[in-house]
Symmetry: C6
Subunit: 249 residues, 6 copies
């Protein structure tokens, strides 16, 4: 559980206490908030056909780009059943616990994160606000690559702690910047470069694999949820080749 | 309820407690403050004819630009009856719940937000302080488009959390900036571009539709409040065509 | 009552408690402080003839510029009787409640605010520290025009909340800047331009109306306080024309 | 009593409590601290002849420049008897209460404040750390002239509150900057210009009046303290003319 | 125990209390947290063969570069047994207590710190996130060299306290920057130069000693842990020369 | 006792309480901490011959440069007996209490402060981390000269309070910067210039007096501690002249 999760949890608990008309937040409020934060409340509202289609292509984008790139975690399940805040989800299942993340793996993860938005752009010719969390995760990952793990040659192998999370404080609150504005801008440019390069790679993969993307989206709209085997079947059928066995990084 | 609402609520409650001569804020003060914040107190003061005319053109501006743009929420009701802090209001009724906001929809929303001020400028040849909230909302929306949803090519699909609201802290308080000053300026320029472009679009629509604008304002001055059908009648009459059925984004 | 007033109030109350030798601030201290803040304590100290003359010209400056500009609130009363912190005061009485402030009205208000200092400069050939509050008010108003109400074409119709007051926090304390340094400088330049332009306008009006200015100051030195009719008489006499009826913006 | 005084007072009281081995600060500690802050404790330590000479020239510098400039407060008493933190003091007695400070008066006050250091430089060919408080006061005054009272044409008649003291917070603590870095630098340059210009003026006056300066310093070394009449005698004798009667600004 | 350790400890204790469902943190939670922080909990999870290989080369890199550089602490033990957060460790045993760190020693320490990452880059052709702590330590050390110990000619022998740790506050929290942004950037550039130069030196040493690196990694994969004698045997065997006796700086 | 001392004291006391397993810090902990802070605990650890030699040359450097410069405090005692945090110390005994510090005296003090490091550089050809405190003191002194005492012509006689210590807050914590970044950089450059110039002067003196430096270091290594007479003997012997009697600034 990260600092951001805890911050989230506290706010939920406080809202809970307010709703119940209490004057103080008690441990019970924290527990109820935790359940809701972790599992997500069931969403019963209806979604338009339009939004279901967009979601289907978005998740199909994540799925296809993930399959085409060698060093990524394999798909576990894709779904367009709304849950918590999200209208859909693509779940990955690492074949083994990883303690090291090679640069190639991380670049591919950026591609996968940006692939949902890239699919929307390709199919519907526009971007939407729906990729908010994908962009946030991709930015935070690229920030770590540049500012903590020395993966930009222009910045070099230095780590001033930028992008670290501070449990109980929350990542962005009250921690003083240790480096100059110019260094921050140097890092910002490298973060942006990583993300823009990853997005272009995702664009290309989706353009080449348009047919598979369409099939994946169609299957999602029909069945709402696909598991690993379903996805493999569609890829085998549309590409006429066996899906590649994942190469461990 | 956003963080800003809650901040507002707390301040109201504190003022309430001070008014009653209490030494502490109690839950009751919060409840009374909440009612007042949500519903707005009834305003009995009188307004000059001048201000009624300005308000009528302002709301007619929002209404006309909203009707001329394909991807916006349809009008529900327009009114120049003062309520809460506002002298008038244009209410929209989305035909369906939206979970995604496409860029085209958001750009149009910027146009609609700036259309009240644009109408004042067109008719009275000057701008006034009355568009304060419209500008604030438009700026916050353009900030989200640029800094959270990756809708500026110059900034790219990055999200450093700029413009996020922090419940219980309030959006602007105590959260540290994660990006460089130069990145902030890059974003500021893009935010300004989005807004200036949207304002020009609103200017054009109002210039072309001046006749309809006049009719809408006149009807508002006469009847104080118009519903969807009233607005459609005026548009049909002045433009000589059926109002377009909204295209879902 | 604004946030600044409340901040002021708290400090007054704290001083009150210290004076009485209390260890804590009580509600009573707040009440006594409020009375003093709102009404101003009576000042019994003597003022030199020099300072009375300066004050007379200062207030006559506000009065004359206000009368010469069409879109401003009419004079209610001018006085050089010291009260609270001020050695003199020019009071305006809006003919109607205003909810909108047009840009032309606000520019004129800047002129009026700077006219006291302009009169000192014209008559005594120097500026003094006495215009402190006028400059502060003018700067805060120009800041709102540029940064909240979109009245600078170079900045555009954007509102990042700069210059807002935060009740219970006080305007300048603890609120994070949401825009870049370069945007802040862009705004600063526009704020300065508005103020310098307004000052030049006030300079011109006073230069052209020097005779009336002298008469107004003389009358103030003689009678200490002038009401609307007194002022109108002097203007009619010195300018040989009827004073213009105010044009509602 | 300003915010800085109060800050000072609190620190004194806290030190007092620590000295007495108390665990908390009580009102009594505040009272004792106040007495010491206001009156200064008597200093019994001995000073070298060198330092007495430097102090004598330093105070003679303040005195002479003050007498040569028309718009300044008249001397009340000059002394090189150490008291509180200072080794000497030049006291002025305004002939009347002032509520306005004209720019000419303030510029002269800057000259007088810098004249002690200028005298040391002239006579001993070096500057020392002893002018610390003079520089601090001069800087704070020039800051007010530029940033609050509109006395720099380059900055213009704007007042963003820079240099204000905040009672109970202390001037420098926790108050957010409302203007850009570039505006701050523009102000810094003007503050520096005011001070450097004032210092040159003081240099010139002391160079021309070297003989009087020597006599004043000699008298101070002999008698330790001079009153207004003593100073006038020396000036009459060394300059061969009657000292000018002060021109009220 | 540094400020960072204490910060860590507090967070651990707070998590402990939350896990046990307590409403407050007690001294007991601190004690349990301290044990865990200092000794590291035993890790029972399994690691992939891939990660073991990477770890072996990483630690072999530290070991080899340390042996090749004259002014560094001698190896005590190398291991790829996971403990605490780390998958492996290279321990050094200074032959004597040091109170001074010469610049040459510190530059070599930077080389050794970066050698693990350099070995991964050489053998696997990519960098990974695993060098996070090495980079953090190297950056903090280079920061001290430049900003506290005057070891950069461009910055000069100045020390503004940058990079100091503040016990009980934590190094990065709430301490104000005493120097300008331009000075910070000057320092950042020198910090980066030190680190990049050290990395190149490590690259060269590993390239020249590739054979020894392979043998050390192979021995680590076979035995999991090597002591000083084991390492010396491998170096003697692969280089055909006696390992150099360390020259005391 | 300065603010930094008090900060130090509090942290010591807190550590004391933690060590004893207490849940709160009590006055006793403060007292014990104070004794340790003021007197330094006795150090029983052994030091290498290398470090003793370095320390001897370091202290001999301070001593020689101090003796060669006219306006500095005379030596009281030089020692290489470790005490508190330091491995050696050079103590000065001002012949009289000083209340003014002339610029020439302060520049010489910078030379003396940097002379230990300069001696290490001359004799051992490298710099080490041992001069940390010397650099810190020299930087703080140069900062005061430039930013409080007007001793840089480029900055001018201005004092914005930079470098002031705030009792009970600690010098660097929470105090807002009153001047622009550009002014800060202007000051930084002047601070650096003062220090670099002082270091060159120390370099020259040591180069010219190498023989005396060697004799002083040898005597220190033999006797561990030298008093004023011992030092004078060595200087008389090696330079063949009587040591100059100090000129009072």
């Amino acid at each position: 559980m990260t600092g951001a999760d805890l911050e989230n949890l506290m706010n939920e608990a406080a809202l809970e206490a307010v709703k119940k008309g209490k004057e103080r937040i008690e441990m019970r409020d924290f527990e109820e908030a935790r359940d809701r934060v972790i599992m997500g409340s069931k969403r019963e509202e209806s979604f338009s056909e339009d939004e279901k289609r967009i979601t289907a292509y978005h998740e199909a984008g994540h799925t296809l780009v993930s399959w085409e790139l060698p060093h990524t975690d394999p798909i576990h399940k894709v779904s367009i059943i709304p849950r918590g805040m999200a209208l859909g989800a693509t779940q990955f299942l690492p074949e083994e616990d990883r303690h090291y993340y090679p640069k190639s793996y991380l670049i591919n993860r950026l591609c996968v994160a940006l692939a949902g938005r890239a699919a929307e752009k390709l199919v519907f010719m526009y971007v939407s606000s729906g990729a908010n969390d994908d962009l946030k995760n991709a930015t935070a990952l690229a920030e770590k690559m540049v500012a903590q793990w020395g993966m930009s040659d222009k910045v070099g192998p230095i780590n001033f702690g930028r992008g670290e999370e501070h449990p109980f404080i929350g990542r962005d609150i009250s921690v003083q910047k240790r480096y100059s504005e110019t260094m921050a801008w140097l890092m910002d440019k490298e973060i942006r470069n990583l993300i823009i390069t990853a997005e272009r790679k995702a664009d290309e993969i989706l353009l080449r694999g348009r047919k598979t993307l369409e099939e994946l989206a169609a299957a999602l709209l029909k069945d709402e949820s696909l598991d690993k085997e379903d996805v493999e079947d569609i890829i085998r059928r549309t590409k006429g080749v066996e899906p590649l066995r994942k190469i461990s990084n």
